[in-house]
Amino acid sequence: MIFVSVGTHNQEFERLIRKIDNLAKEINEEIIIQRGHTKYIPKNCKSFKFDSDLKPYMKKARLIIAHAGIGTTIEVLRKLKKPLILIPRQHKYGEHINDHQVGMARHFEKKWGVKIIYNIKDLTSELIKRYDRITPMNDKKLIMIRNYLKGAILGEEDER
């Protein structure tokens, strides 16, 4: 199963949903879309607006395709360690209030080797069918900041 998620942000992400709906005709695998605030309803695959917990869908999926939200990315790469393709929401298409998802996507690409699609044309049925690369994200940096904060909060190391 391929799970597609665009999160809970209150702007549409029709560029991605429509593209997946078109590609679904060429893909023989089940596709489920969490379409959020996007009004367009896919015709060639299953979709729903929101669910209180997306983890069961992600656990079941072979591949996850999502907007470049921090929550989804951490869940998939750090906890589930599954193949992930990210499509950052872009301000110029009215998909977000600024381009921070593009900035984060570049970081994920450079630092963790995550597959990023900036131009929706590059998202093809071939890519979706064969994509199986796993780019796990370790938590070294997270442990670093937690340790620092512990010292800072307890007043043990103000300066470093």
Partner: protein, 148 residues
């Protein structure tokens, strides 16, 4: 040791919980945030504030209320990652001589945040989550790791 977390109710608060050392007792943190389905179910002692958005006027009553609560609660450290009540809270804490820690949101990988810009002068410790972001704020901004 009493710790206040000041943050908007969505992803900011989730991230703040995730960033804090896991061996501190999370349930003991006092929270300043807005009320929604999720925050109303928190186990923590929580003070709810009305959404401030980009309107400067509600900031003053919020600031006074923060001062009053921080005094009453006898707080030692305030941690915020900005947005909504974060700014009035960090100003109030600084004014009362409470230690202030600001952590820029992980979404700010390339773009400076308004919360960071305004909170910088009121922070004792100012952290960014990407090495390249420190130069966007000032000399005291530092990178010591981040969520991703």
């Amino acid at each position: 040791m009493k710790i206040v977390l000041a943050s908007s109710a969505g992803g900011h608060l989730t991230e703040l919980f995730e960033l804090l050392p896991q061996d501190l007792n999370k349930d003991k943190f006092v929270i300043f945030t807005e009320k929604n389905d999720r925050t109303s179910k928190l186990k923590n002692k929580t003070y709810f504030f009305k959404p401030l958005l980009y309107n400067p006027f509600p900031y003053f009553p919020a600031l006074l209320r923060c001062i009053k609560i921080l005094r009453k609660e006898n707080v030692n450290v305030l941690v915020t990652n900005g947005a909504e009540i974060g700014l009035p809270a960090i100003i109030a804490a600084k004014f009362l001589g409470i230690k202030t820690i600001y952590i820029d949101i992980s979404a700010a990988a390339t773009i400076r945040t308004l919360a960071g810009k305004f909170s910088y002068p009121f922070s004792d410790i100012f952290l960014v989550q990407y090495p390249e972001m420190a130069r966007h704020y000032g000399k005291r901004a530092k990178y010591v790791g981040g969520i991703v």
